[in-house]
Amino acid sequence: MVEAQRVTIADNAPVVLQARGLRKQYGHVVALDGADFDVRAGEILAVIGDNGAGKSSLIKALSGALIPDEGEIRLDGAVMRFRSPADARAAGIETVYQDLALAPAMSIADNLFLGREVRSGGLAGTLFRRLDRARMQREAADALAALGVNIRSITQAVETLSGGQRQGIAVARSAAFARHVVILDEPTAALGVRESGMVLDLIRRVRDRGLSVVLISHNMPHVFDLADRIHIQRLGKRAALVNKTEITMAEAVGVMTGASLSV
């Protein structure tokens, strides 16, 4: 077991989202074994770890998709109890899932506002939940333009886009609605080099808006390219939290796999 845990404090930005002692057990399998987590305002935090280290359980707990058995999650210092992804989203935490939670046959605008449609005024809006399509399309176009995501038409179906463009839509959607944290699960996993580069640029722009970005990735070059700090998950716990500049790729892999017990 990795007992040594070193937490590096490099600058003084406040911690936005924090978890302490998260525990989750499925039968005999311990997915989270007292995991801690910290992400600061306006930083990109990469979460790395071997398969089965509890990365995705940790992320699910933070995004409300999993209710931990024990432990505490704080957002801006206040204790949060997420019962569903909707709770986390309402609190300002947006998650982009690996399998792209988009509806392919629906338009880009419809996808951006899926589940939080803008209603028209008056009786039709309140009683029948009538949509304000013009406003949704305008705002969707603005949101994409602000993040530099280039698409031809906001009304085209998502399935007509390339993989990178779809990922761009998914990231832009989360950035447009997040107030605190954007969680990205393997955002470049299925993309080629050029499209990956596009998405990485987009992630930087999201951070530059002052949002905290949590990036789960297996791709070490991407992690070391993008992240400000790195959270290394191992055996259901946080094995280390370090500044990118204080660790080499080989050392990080060492901690991840348990070859070296600390950094």
Binding site: P85, T95, L102, M106, L114, R130, L131
Partner: protein
Amino acid sequence: MTLRRLAALGPVVALFVACLFFAVQSPRFLTLGNFSLITQQVMVVGVLAIGQTLVILTAGIDLSCGMLMALGGVTMTLLAGKAGMSAPVAIAAGIGATTFAGFLNGMLVTRVKLPPFIVTLGTMNIAFALTQITSSSQTVTDLPALFTTLGTTVPVFGTRIAYGTVVMLLLYAIAWWLLRETAGGRHLYAVGNNREAARLSGIDTERVLLVVYTMAGALYGVASLLAVARTGVGDPQAGQTENLDTVTAVVLGGTSLFGGRGVIVGSLVGALIVGVFRNGLTLMGVSSVYQILVTGVLVILAVATDQWSRRNA
């Protein structure tokens, strides 16, 4: 993009071609009187197809629709004809029965999490049995005048249109508006297109499904009233061919059986195609058994075309 637009016109072209074919085959086809007949025949399948479309858009299927219609028809006619209930109350009870059955379908799909195919196959048989038991398989006659009101026709531009046809068109207009203009409509498409994405977007997918199956049940109730209005009796043998007819209408109308794609107006065109085929074949003197054969071929052709066009899109 333009190819997709053209594909959307496919059902209209098919309807036109079918009309042309039957016009050549039978001189009686292109008469105002026959047009009136087709619209009256289509109103029942047309209303059923609205419910079927809603269910298929969620990537489900409703095999119980024809039998629920029979159950609704027998319920309302028995209550009015035999139990002596007042006609409006009996009609409301009939529609209530199919609505409840639809709600039950929805509960089994969302709470017990059974596949829609199995759920509705089960409720189809239950509804059929209940219909036979309550009516002793006897046609219910001697109905109050209110039951046949929707079947009466009014002259429009030299032809006659049934009130029931107007009701059907109104229901299509309402369904079209709800699907296109409201958040609920968007959610229905999202659930059918990518249920997990819809759930992660904060949409209560189970509620959407429950509402859809319940609404479908209510629509089958309205269809049962239209069927009673058209025939003037409560027929326990009704709804036998309607299951396939509605699925055919929906698929011919361009709605994908995989859910999330399609427009409700397409189902109206699809119902008209089915109606035109039945009517035209009858005029040509083709026996009803062969008509069933043709609808069977039609539905397979429609699904095959749908698959093929999507693969090449």
